[in-house]
Symmetry: C2
Subunit: 284 residues, 2 copies
């Protein structure tokens, strides 16, 4: 679909994008802009990227599509540079970040902003970095596309076809709504996992907690091993929705505390467990 | 080690215990007492148990070891019946429940209580029921043994050798301390997973939330699909420790909320994420 592609950032998501594109069609020219030159040499020798440039030399010149794949605050800086670049030309811009409204707002406030189509692939894990990238990361993943009011239908459809060509399922969603929903399905769950790990760390004062940790705790808190760089930016960029979702979670915990403290396990307690389990089963 | 074994309850843990014993030595006689007679016929035809009896006929007569493997409140009822039974004789009693202090207290208050050695294998998953039982469930699992003040060293060591023979690693711990620790490593994490699933269910009003759910959320909330029977009893039996751990979790969430609302992501936020991730990595 694109003959000349660039990614900005070559971590798990950027690296996996390059791999997926190259595995599909090795003749596509892929350029990576990144801070970490060690990653560049690995990607070059593996043939995952054709050209590797430091992010200081960021330019849209000559590319048909540039996908920004860095932590959200860095992505906003790169997006601003690219939208203001005199050589932007016909280059389509996109990203893979977990927070969308600030980027869409930034684009909408820019005269060239129509060329940015925000995307969020629901892919990734607690593992980060190019070394964990995979050509199949996006296969079967859902990619939320958050069109801005200046995007052309053609550009949106182009991005939908691009992700579909890598095996992903796309869904369109308003950026504000996206950010509100992922605060509940991703950002606050991550913080709750960190909070639970931190509580356990405190309870573990003597260092003898390990035998008390089972697979449930490990599954639940795995995401707490995620990249602090990525998550710190997400917390900053989606602070308002995250705070609101933390308040909702705290209220829910208060409710649970009451029915346990007051001995209503068999009535309210059981109904709550059944409702939560039933929803969880419904999402596979 | 034992020639005549009985389990009370033939769910995931009881069924797995029978399988593990039979796989090790098919000549051991295994009797199951259970409520659900459908399970009994399956276990009989598979050769996992030799004799199957309804729980109404519960008796320790003729067994060397009886392991109670039902939800905690039912286990307390069975333990009381067995300790008071005129035919208790030399039968050693144990259990596999997630809450220990109430059972140890019940035994300590009983003239025959020295024969009960409480155990908690940190094994299991969101799956429950005999149909998911496995002969390898306990292999590599840690089993917490919570001796009571009347237990003989011989009986404690017998239970340690029994679990070791099934491939588990045993650790001794005071029952009160056990219950305080598992509230933090298991019971409140389970409730938090349910709370997150329930919040997502509410946010999903329109039913279009599924594309926003990634593997992080699925891992985190998997335990919310656990058996409501088992968890309702745990909440009742360990209410005090659970309430205290919910309070600690709520305080932690309040702390997180503040550093996010006040924009201290790069300082307090990053330090918190790094501490949580570092603890999580330390437990494998």
């Amino acid at each position: 679909m694109f003959r000349r592609l660039a990614v900005v950032g070559l971590g798990l998501l950027g690296g996996s994008l390059c791999r997926a594109v190259k595995e599909k069609d090795g003749s596509v020219s892929v350029t990576a802009f990144t801070r970490d030159t060690k990653r560049l040499s690995g990607a070059l020798s593996e043939g995952i990227v054709d050209l590797a440039l430091p992010v200081e030399e960021l330019t849209p010149e000559g590319f048909e599509l540039m996908v920004i794949a860095s932590p959200v605050l860095s992505s906003m800086e790169s997006l601003k540079i690219l939208l203001d670049h005199p050589k932007l030309g016909g280059c389509l811009l996109s990203d893979v970040g977990s927070v969308k409204a600030p980027l869409v707002a930034l684009a909408e406030a820019n005269p060239n902003g129509a060329r940015f189509v925000g995307c969020h692939p629901m892919a990734g894990s607690e593992k980060s970095g190019y070394e964990h990238s995979s050509g199949t990361l996006y296969r079967g993943a859902s990619v939320i596309i958050t069109p801005g009011k200046n995007n052309s239908e053609t550009d949106i459809q182009t991005m939908e076809r691009f992700w579909a060509s890598l095996g992903a399922d796309t869904v369109r969603c308003d950026a504000e709504e996206h950010d509100r929903l992922v605060a509940v399905t991703s950002h606050v769950p991550h913080l709750a996992a960190c909070a639970l790990a931190d509580l356990a760390a405190e309870a573990s004062a003597g260092g003898r907690l390990t035998p008390f940790i089972g697979s449930g705790f490990r599954d639940l808190t795995r995401i707490a091993m995620g990249s602090p760089d990525m998550w710190t930016d997400i917390e900053a960029a989606n602070a308002e929705n995250i705070v609101r979702a933390i308040d909702a979670l705290s209220a829910k915990l208060g409710h649970i505390r009451r029915f346990i403290a007051e001995g209503r396990h068999e009535t309210e307690g059981r109904a709550f467990l059944e409702r939560a389990g039933s929803f969880r089963r419904s999402v596979g």
